[in-house]
């Protein structure tokens, strides 16, 4: 029997030449000390393949229609066998792909692997990074709950800031001059056909370049890249010390990718996918749109950047970032590759990581937003609570919405200053002026409060001190 299958394989291989075509690719020589830090690219690739297969599986259960998608999502999550886990894998797979694409890029930057002759490896990688981010964003829209609906409006408004053609771009994105039946069809086409096709093309190109130019050898301080001699030197290195990619180097890639996929499946089974929010009804305004974690840094940036430059920054920011990323290999394509000899580059990459992580952390808290879930102040948080004026003031503090933005003893929102000890900073008159006229980033409440209400509120606030 074994003999029979061997004969079939030999016949097939003879007629197709499969092993002659793939064998040399698998066995191509790589530098011997390319070890654990070289696994992130292949791990990203395996995450992408995981996304392809789970995505195809989801498409068997999904309805790409503005009207029905939400119900099909509920069916996938609550009705279909293992549907919940399938959605979870696709979600954690997306998270994994975004993290790994970032780590892969940072590693490439730290070891300056983008230098001669691998400039195009870097550039095709930048295109793949952008595709990955766009996939993350459109994937979240396909959930088509209220979060998806409002996120697509937010994206349309961002595109609207492009000069001259902004409105047209926004309409192209949402498929019309308003949200409607055609919107989800668009997002489905972007997420399932157009961007994946680009990703397949650019992954093919990226891998072709990896084979053509060879993976970069681990850098050594004092061994600069010289474009005149590098290729000959690299070939000599491979000839003298190279090891076959499979299995000498590739076993690490397979182990890391397998462990990551197992982690993703476990996360999906234990925690499940993100919960669905309300139905995709554009007239239901009591929604609090919040993007998936990997979009939160953008979300935070839009809240925190100076408002007067915002429209320009929203357009120029992404363009400059993309231009900068694409120009990296041209700014310096020769010389030292070791991070020890490139201190400013290391400083730069640390700044970028700290910046993005800080935006993520602050975005998760979103302290600039009103806290609509604020509850009335408990007695324990009110100082001089025996006074009826004070209690009336504390009540107004809640009902008039002050508490949405101001905290007293950990109750309330974070958009405005903490007022737990406001009595130590301001007297009654100063407090009155603030409330009536508003200030920098606070609405004026002069027209909203009666004289009596204002008095109660200021009496209450002035007594809140240490």
């Amino acid at each position: 029997m074994k003999h029979f299958f061997k004969r079939i394989w030999r016949w097939f291989d003879d007629r197709t030449g499969i092993s002659n075509a793939i064998g040399p690719l698998l066995k191509h020589p790589v530098p011997p000390d390319a070890k654990w830090s070289y696994v992130f690219g292949s791990a990203t690739l395996f995450c992408f393949l995981l996304q392809v297969v789970t995505g195809v599986a989801l498409s068997l259960l999904y309805q790409p229609s503005s009207n029905d998608a939400y119900q099909s999502l509920q069916f996938i999550t609550n009705g279909a066998k293992f549907g919940n886990v399938l959605r979870g894998i696709h979600y954690y797979g997306a998270s994994g792909m975004i993290i790994l694409v970032g780590v892969h890029m940072i590693r490439t930057y730290i070891t300056a692997s983008f230098k001669y002759p691998r400039e195009m490896n870097w550039i095709s990688g930048v295109v793949l990074l952008l595709c990955t981010i766009f996939m993350g964003f459109t994937g979240q829209l396909l959930r088509w709950d209220s979060n998806g609906v409002w996120s697509s409006v937010v994206a349309a408004q961002q595109l609207g800031r492009v000069p001259f053609i902004g409105t047209y771009l926004a309409r192209l994105l949402i498929g019309g001059n308003t949200l409607g039946g055609q919107s989800l069809s668009r997002f489905f086409a972007y997420h399932v056909f157009i961007i994946p096709a680009l990703i397949f093309i650019f992954i093919g190109f990226h891998l072709y370049l990896v084979i053509r130019n060879g993976i970069s050898e681990p850098p050594k301080a004092g061994r600069p890249v010289d474009p005149k001699t590098y290729r000959a030197w690299y070939e000599k290195l491979l000839k003298e010390k190279g090891v076959p990619f499979w299995p000498d180097a590739g076993w690490r890639d397979v182990i890391v990718a397998s462990v990551i996929i197992i982690i993703i499946v476990v996360l999906a089974a234990v925690f499940g996918p993100p919960a669905l929010t309300q139905a995709p009804d554009p007239s239901a305004v009591h929604a609090s749109p919040m993007p998936d974690w990997f979009m939160v840094p953008f979300f935070a940036l839009f809240a925190l950047m100076p408002h007067n430059i915002e429209s320009v920054a929203m357009m120029l920011g992404p363009l400059l970032t993309i231009a900068l990323l694409l120009s990296v290999p041209f700014i310096s394509n020769k010389g030292e590759r070791s991070p020890l000899r490139r201190p400013w580059s290391m400083f730069g990459v640390i700044c970028v990581v700290v910046f993005v992580v800080s935006l993520l952390v602050v975005g998760m808290k979103a302290p600039w937003s009103a806290n609509f879930r604020a509850k009335p102040l408990p007695l324990s948080a009110v100082k001089s609570a025996q006074d009826t004026m004070v209690m009336a003031g504390a009540h107004l503090f809640y009902t008039k919405g002050c508490e949405y933005c101001h905290e007293i003893e950990d109750y309330g929102g974070l958009a405005g200053p903490d007022l737990t000890y406001v009595g130590n900073r301001l007297n009654e008159r100063e407090i009155t002026i603030r409330i009536v006229n508003g200030s920098n980033n606070m609405p004026a409440f002069g027209g909203v409060l009666t004289k009596d209400e204002l008095e109660k509120l200021t009496t209450f606030l002035a007594l809140q001190k240490k």
Binding site: L172, T178, L179, D281, P282, P289, H307, M442
Partner: protein, 171 residues
């Protein structure tokens, strides 16, 4: 015919065939791309429809009140279902004048909510706040809430629905 001549004829023939094949390929691609590009640009090729929609009667809206009204957008596709719905905040002020505000924050389009006790519109996304007349009170919005036209017809309050307003860079 000398060898030279036949060689030249052969070259002319080849270069003609190359041009013919590439030209035909280009033509076939151009023909196919017309409907494809038209599908891609479909949202730009449709006219902007505007329609008056009745959202209630005069007595539904007491003076000095702000209420959420929902209605169908101007150009709903037959298969749009719930996504054909849209909403506005309809305000009738002390002088009995009506104003209808789009629910979309002018910053990035999130849905603003009316907080009646505080008499403010508040956005849940990036901290935008507006006064009852739609002017900006706090946060990042670059301009006041967008207004729809309102009219009274036979004691019915009607709103002229229009395309989703996109804030441009000049705002």
């Amino acid at each position: 015919m000398s060898d030279q001549q036949s060689n030249n004829t052969e070259i002319n023939r080849k270069s003609f065939l190359v041009k013919l094949s590439l030209g035909l390929a280009g033509l076939s691609a151009a023909l196919v791309s017309v409907p494809i590009i038209s599908a891609l640009l479909a949202p730009l090729l449709e006219p902007d429809k505007e329609k008056w929609r009745t959202v209630g009667t005069l007595s539904d809206f007491p003076a000095n009140s702000t209420k959420l009204v929902t209605f169908e957008n101007a150009d709903p596709k037959p298969y749009a279902g719930v996504t054909a719905q849209t909403a506005a905040w309809l305000r009738r002020n002390e002088k009995n004048e009506f104003a209808a505000f789009a629910v979309n924050c002018t910053h990035l389009g999130c849905p603003v909510r009316w907080e009646d006790k505080a008499q403010l519109f508040m956005c849940p996304c990036h901290g935008g706040v507006y006064y009852k007349d739609g002017t900006v009170a706090a946060g990042p919005p670059p301009k006041p809430l967008t207004k729809y036209q309102v009219r009274i017809s036979n004691k019915e309050v009607q709103i002229k629905t229009s395309p989703l307003h996109i804030t441009n860079i000049t705002a």
